[in-house]
Structures are given as structure tokens and as C-alpha cells.
Symmetry: C2
Subunit: 448 residues, 2 copies
């Protein structure tokens, strides 16, 4: 016999779980659609050259590679690979179809990606990303709209306690310069600073030392971060402090001004209540060039999603620079938090079954199917218990297990009289009505 | 620079095309949901052993295989493979989670599958299947419900001219027996008969000869099929003729009785008008054991979908027989026909843009974003033209290209007066209203 487990690190989604996923995805689509983002889907398989070299050394190792086929299979070579994120395929699409796309191309994309990571709690080899990206403009209106759209998604799902941490790659560089950390060591410093949340000031200090950062520079940087901590992310005082710290640093001042504008624009959108400045936020990915952002809730380590401006990536496919800014929400993490907090509406959790139609013997099969057709025409969700059952116990038990609200039963007596027995499984009442009036009677029972 | 084409045989779905796909998928989900089918999704990647040996010699060659990773990559061996259809994963799921699934498990599954076929017009290496399957009952109510659900999907999409061709694997065997074709040659005969539509009676006669079928037996079989052709699939006379032809053949008579019951039950459902009997319908797949069906429209060679009963497949995973019956709709083919016939509603074709908000200079950015937030709260689809534009031409042209209905414009004058200019791009009229009344004014313009 063939083993029946799904492949390691992948999951089967049974109906109960899938209903929750669909609910979240439908909200995401609906909200992003109202912001003028349009849907895009790309193939699961890409030419291997499209992906290699885009995710760094470590990323290359985590890409699932597909064997050549037919006579070439024996070479052991790969010519295709599974999608690793949604940003590189977007960059490819923008380059390939530029003439057909609007000047400002805003797309959302909700598809699985595959990474050959070692599976762990909450880490899978197949998982969904929900990305929005706006291509073609350097205006800070783009950042403000992204933050508004993401906030709208989260509040529509019922989140009201999240924080949007906002920073800027060039403000970060200016802060490191002002601390006295030499430019070639900025990368090392950022890796260490990125852990501030997890390991605290002392931990970061140790790591900065290990990574060869000058002690007094590291101390200056950490002193600044510690000092501004008392503002708790409040944008105005924090940006003022940052501005004072970087002094006359030209690109730094420009970046801080950009952050001011983004905060000011976001203030009139659904993102208003949630925006904080976090001068230590670094974001791992190397392709960001401007504003960067991350969303977190208190009861989940890590983030619900993140993003930022990346004005150079599309140029790798197109040969000329095209500005871009995007945000990626983590579907799995949102679902984990919503499930733990009981945030799903009741009908998403239990499923939408309304009526189970059953028949006592085969002479009533046609009448049962005809009734089911009537009820479905009236918009009801109807399941037919497929087998005749002399006793009512079986379909009754089954209907209860399926959480149907009504059991509609036709036996030879009901058939002879042109009737159907309707049992309300919630209040355990029963009525018998002419078949032609069943749809109305069902509607009355189901009316809220 | 990296090349920008999608991988051979795969497609990028840009927004216009994706809206059409989504429309069809939403109808399929909605209708199948009303029939009590529940959603299921399985991973794109399966352990290679799950798939090998399930699709025959030819199928094995068309499976995309994934290289082992890390130190094992150099071996050139594959341990995973891409999903090839939705039926084998379903069988695996039923075996794996039997204790958690209801006794009658009815699921729909709409996901892509991958086959390394040579790409051709209308044949892709990544394509979607839309499957429904009902597990756990041998009752003909199952077949009737499947036909009703599929018919309901097609009529909801606007099809009213399709035909459901119905046959039975054991009726087919009885017909071949009655013709005098020896049982070991049934497989050969079916391959030839399956081409009756394409090559006609003479073509099939020639192929039967080539495949070693006795001439007089072949003639008897073709004479019968030719003779019943005048019934044009009409179930009653056709089943009577088939019954007379197979005579006392026991399993044949039982199969014909099953077909009679299915036709009779389907007659009270949305499938009623469409069911025909086709005694030559064979269906390629080897795993069918009972009723088989296929749906076709006149203007498309081949079928829109097909299915049948397969009571033995799940046993390959579970070790005991579990009855099952399913139907698979071809999403790509449905979309091809609907596009050619212009069957999509207008808003699916053009997209849902309602309002484009634009601003004349950066002092108006905040007011523009605030207006966009108001309109979205009122349920509108709103895009913000992200860059200040001293002249109205650019946003106007862009809004027209995006097929927005209204351009909402805020310049310094409007800002000073707390107003917004609303231009109806359909009738080229313009009005200026206080910002607080914009949502109401937009609603009036958009009212049908």
C-alpha cells in the first residue's frame, strides 16, 4: 500500500481549516481591491535562471529544483524551480509586459511559495504569501496607501492592537554614520541591531563587538536607541530626536523628511492609530532602498508581515530603474493568531450547512432529489443523505454531525400526501408541510 | 539581464484574464457549496511514491520530479513530484484522515496540476482542475447529484446547450460481449470505439481490424451503434435497445438498470434537459468501474469535463474498498468557450474601478488620501493617482485608461474651500461638492 502522509513540511487543508483560510483570503482580496490593487497570478514553476542569484547564497540552497525530463532526466540536471517568493515573479512580469500594464501598476498576489527550509513549528515548506506592490512612482503617497490598505485588512479581520513599525534604510545608514560606525561595517551592524527585540541592549552590544564594530561607536548607537526608547515609537518626538542625532547628514535628513511625510499622510487613513517609528528596524532583505515597515501584535513573536521600498530590483530584469514599494502579509501567522483569539465568525468555524434531505426508502429518492433542487434554487445549502434508511436515527445523527440546521425527511407516508417533515435540529421541533411550501418554511426557520 | 518569459507551457495571468478566471471559480465554489460539497486543498508537492504507478506508463513520464536537496542534490535523484491530478491526492487524504472525515465525504477541489506534456494550442504544463467527488456510497443518488451540481454550474455560467453523455463501464463490457468481442480484447476495442466521434464508423472499423478484433464481431458492434444512432441519445429508447442487444447478460442488465435509475433521478434535477445515453462513450482512464459521463458543447472539440464511478482506487491507499464517484470540469476550456461567445458580465471584463482621486499639488495630498479613505469606507473602489499633476490631462487620461467612472480632483482652490471636483467620465459632466458630501454624490453618479 502507498503511504498516505503529505510530503514533509507540507499540509493537507481539510474543510474546517480551509474555510478559515478562505475567509481571510476573501477579506484580503476585497480590501486590496477597494484600494485599486488588481489581482496577478504567476506560474508555480519558473525557469531556474529567473530565481537563482536573487535570494543570496542561502536562498539558492532553499530553492526546490525540478529535474529535466525524458532523455535528459538521467543527467540529474534541473531546468525549472518552484516559486520562492512573489516579488521576483512580479519583477519579471513588469519587465515582460510593460507595454500592457498601466503606468502605475498596483497588484495583489496571493499564492503559495516553496522553500526547502527545515520544517519546524509554524514553519512550512509550502506556505502562502499575500503581497501588494505598487510599481512606477517614488511618491510617498504610495507608502501611505500601502499602510492604509494593510491596516484596513487587519481591522476588517478584527485586529485593533497591532503596531506598524516604520523606518528608512537611509535614515538607518545616517544613524550608523552618526554613531561613528564605518560604512563597510553597516551590514554587520544591521544584522546585530535587527536582534534588539530578541536579545536586548546587552545582547546587541556583545554581538556588535563580535562583528568587529568599534566599541565607542557601538555604545553611541545603543545609547541613542536606548534614549529614544522612552518615546515608545511616537513619530514626532522620535523623528525630532533622530534628526538631531544625524545632524547635517544630507541623505539622512532627506530620509527623515520622507518618514515625516509618510507619517503625516498616513494620519488621515485607517493606518493612523498604528504607525510608530522604530529607528532600529532593519528588515533582512537586501533589496530595500527606502522606507521599510513591519507589523506586529503583542502575542506573536516575529511579525504579521513587512515590506518596504525597493527601487532597484525590477532593473535586474528590465535594464532600467523602475521604482517600487510593497508589503507582504503572512497568511499562516494571521490565521494562527485569529484561531488562538477566537476571532473567526461562527459560520466560518462550523460551516454553512442548512438542510440535510433524507429518504426512508428508494421509492422516495426522486421526491428527495426534487426537494433538494427546489431548496437550492431558493439559495439554500442542501446535502442529500444518499442512502435509504428505514430508521431516522442514521440520517439524524449524520445531520447533527454535519451541523445541519434542518433535517428534511420524506418517507412513503409523506410521499403519498405530497409532504415533507422538517425537523429543526437546533430547537428539536418538527413540522410537516406540503412539498411546495418547503422552501418558505425553511426560510422561516433559518431567519435570524 | 535575466530573461522575462514564464517557463515553457506556463502562463502569467494578468488582471484582465484573472478576473475572468476568478468569476468562473467563484461560481463553481458557490454552486458546489450549495450541494454540500466542502473545499479541500492538498500540497502542490507529493512524495514521489504517492504519484508513481498511478497514471500508467505514459503518465509516469509526464510527472515533474523534484531534485533532492543539499548534499543529495548531486545524486540527481528525485524524492518529490508535482501534483498530476486531484484524484490521487484525494484518495491519499481519504486514507490518511478517515477518522476525521464524515461517512459520506463530498469535497470540491480547485487547484493547478502539472504535466510535462508537449505544449500546444490550449494544452499547458500548468493548468487548473475543478473536481467534485463523493466518497462512501454506491447509491445512484450520488451520480444524480453530481450531474445536477455540474449542470447547475454550467447553467449559472450561462451555458444552455451542453450535452451530458452517460454510459456505464459494465454496460460497455456487456455490449462488447454481445457483439462477440472476446474479453481479453475489450481494452483494444474501447480504444478504437473512443474515436467514433472523430473518425466515424469506417475509421473505427479499420482500427478495430488493426487491433485484431474479429471482423464479424466488429461489424455486429458497429451495426448496433449505427442503428441506435437514430435515437440521438434519447435515454429511454436507447436503454431499451441496449437491453435487447445484451439479452440475458447479467452484469450488463444490472448496469443498464443503474443507468435507468440515474436518468430517472436526474430528471427531477437541473441536469434533466441535458442527459443523453452514449453507448460508445468509454473514457480513457482505467480506474472507472461504473457509470461514466462526459459533458460537451457543439463548438468545442473534446469535452468541458468528465467523470465517473471508481470504487477501487481509494483501496490502493487504504487497503479496503471505499466507493467513490467524481466529476472534473476543465476550467481553461470553459473560459475559452465563454470568451469566444462573450458570456462574461461587463464588470468582469472591464474591472471594477469606480473612482480615481487626483491632486494638483503636494499641499493637497493629505486631502486626497482623506477623501479616498472616506469613499472606501463607503464601500467604493478607489485608486489614488500617486503624483501631483499641475495639469488635469495626465490623471484624466490615466483614469480613462483604467476605466474609472469618476475622477475626483482636489487642487489648492478646492482645498481652500473644503471641496472636491467630481467629473463623471461616462457622460463628461462635472460638479463640485463639499468633501463631506462626496461619498453621497459618488453614490448618486454610480447608482444604476
Amino acid at each position: 500500500m502507498t503511504p498516505t502522509q503529505p510530503a514533509r513540511g507540507t499540509r493537507d487543508f481539510l474543510p474546517d481549516e480551509l474555510r478559515r483560510r478562505r475567509y481571510v483570503i476573501d477579506v484580503v482580496r476585497d480590501v486590496y481591491g477597494r484600494y485599486g490593487f488588481e489581482p496577478l497570478e504567476t506560474p508555480a514553476i519558473e525557469n531556474i535562471g529567473t530565481l537563482l542569484g536573487k535570494y543570496g547564497e542561502e536562498g539558492n540552497k532553499l530553492i526546490f529544483k525540478i529535474l529535466k525530463r525524458g532523455e535528459h532526466e538521467a543527467t540529474g540536471e534541473a531546468d525549472l524551480a518552484l516559486r520562492y517568493d512573489l516579488t521576483v515573479p512580479l519583477a519579471r512580469v513588469v519587465a515582460q509586459y510593460q507595454a500592457r500594464l498601466p503606468r502605475f501598476f498596483k497588484r495583489y498576489q496571493i499564492q503559495p511559495v516553496w522553500r526547502a527550509d527545515r520544517p519546524a513549528r509554524g514553519r512550512f515548506r509550502e506556505f502562502y504569501q499575500c503581497d501588494i506592490d505598487a510599481i512606477g512612482s517614488t511618491s510617498p503617497v504610495v507608502e501611505a496607501e500601502l499602510l492604509a490598505a494593510v491596516s484596513d485588512v487587519l481591522t476588517t479581520l478584527g485586529f485593533d492592537d497591532f503596531t506598524i513599525r516604520l523606518n528608512h534604510r537611509r535614515a538607518l545608514a545616517a544613524m550608523l554614520d552618526a554613531s561613528g560606525i564605518a560604512a563597510p561595517l553597516h551590514g554587520e551592524a544591521l544584522v546585530a541591531l535587527d536582534k534588539l527585540d530578541k536579545v536586548g541592549v546587552d545582547g546587541v552590544a556583545a554581538e556588535l563587538r563580535t562583528r568587529g564594530i568599534d566599541e565607542s561607536a557601538a555604545a553611541a548607537c545603543l545609547r541613542f536607541l536606548d534614549e529614544v526608547g522612552r518615546h515608545r515609537g511616537e513619530p514626532r518626538p522620535l523623528l525630532d530626536a533622530l534628526s538631531a542625532f544625524v545632524g547635517a547628514h544630507e541623505t539622512g535628513r532627506a530620509a527623515i523628511d520622507e518618514l515625516r511625510t509618510i507619517v503625516e499622510l498616513a494620519a488621515v487613513t485607517p493606518a493612523a492609530r498604528y504607525v510608530r517609528i522604530d529607528p532600529s528596524l532593519a528588515r533582512g532583505l537586501s533589496y530595500y532602498t527606502g522606507a521599510i515597515m513591519e507589523i506586529a501584535v503583542a502575542d506573536l513573536p516575529g511579525s504579521l508581515g513587512g515590506g518596504g521600498r525597493y527601487d532597484d530590483l525590477i532593473g535586474m530584469f528590465l535594464g532600467r530603474q523602475v521604482p517600487a514599494c510593497g508589503f507582504s502579509l503572512g497568511l499562516e501567522r494571521i490565521i494562527v493568531v485569529m484561531t488562538e483569539r477566537g476571532m473567526f465568525p461562527a459560520d466560518v468555524v462550523t460551516g454553512p450547512f442548512e438542510v440535510m434531505v433524507a429518504f426512508l426508502d428508494d421509492s422516495c429518492r426522486g421526491a428527495a432529489l426534487s426537494l433538494a433542487a427546489d431548496l437550492r434554487r431558493a439559495g439554500r445549502t442542501v446535502e442529500v443523505y444518499p442512502e435509504a434508511s428505514r430508521k431516522i436515527d442514521r440520517p439524524l445523527k449524520y445531520a447533527a454531525g454535519r451541523q445541519a440546521r434542518i433535517l428534511a425527511l420524506i418517507g412513503p407516508d409523506e410521499l403519498a400526501r405530497g409532504e415533507v417533515a422538517l425537523r429543526d435540529l437546533a430547537v428539536r421541533s418538527q413540522q410537516t408541510v406540503p412539498v411546495g411550501e418547503a422552501a418558505t418554511a425553511v426560510e422561516t426557520v433559518l431567519a435570524p
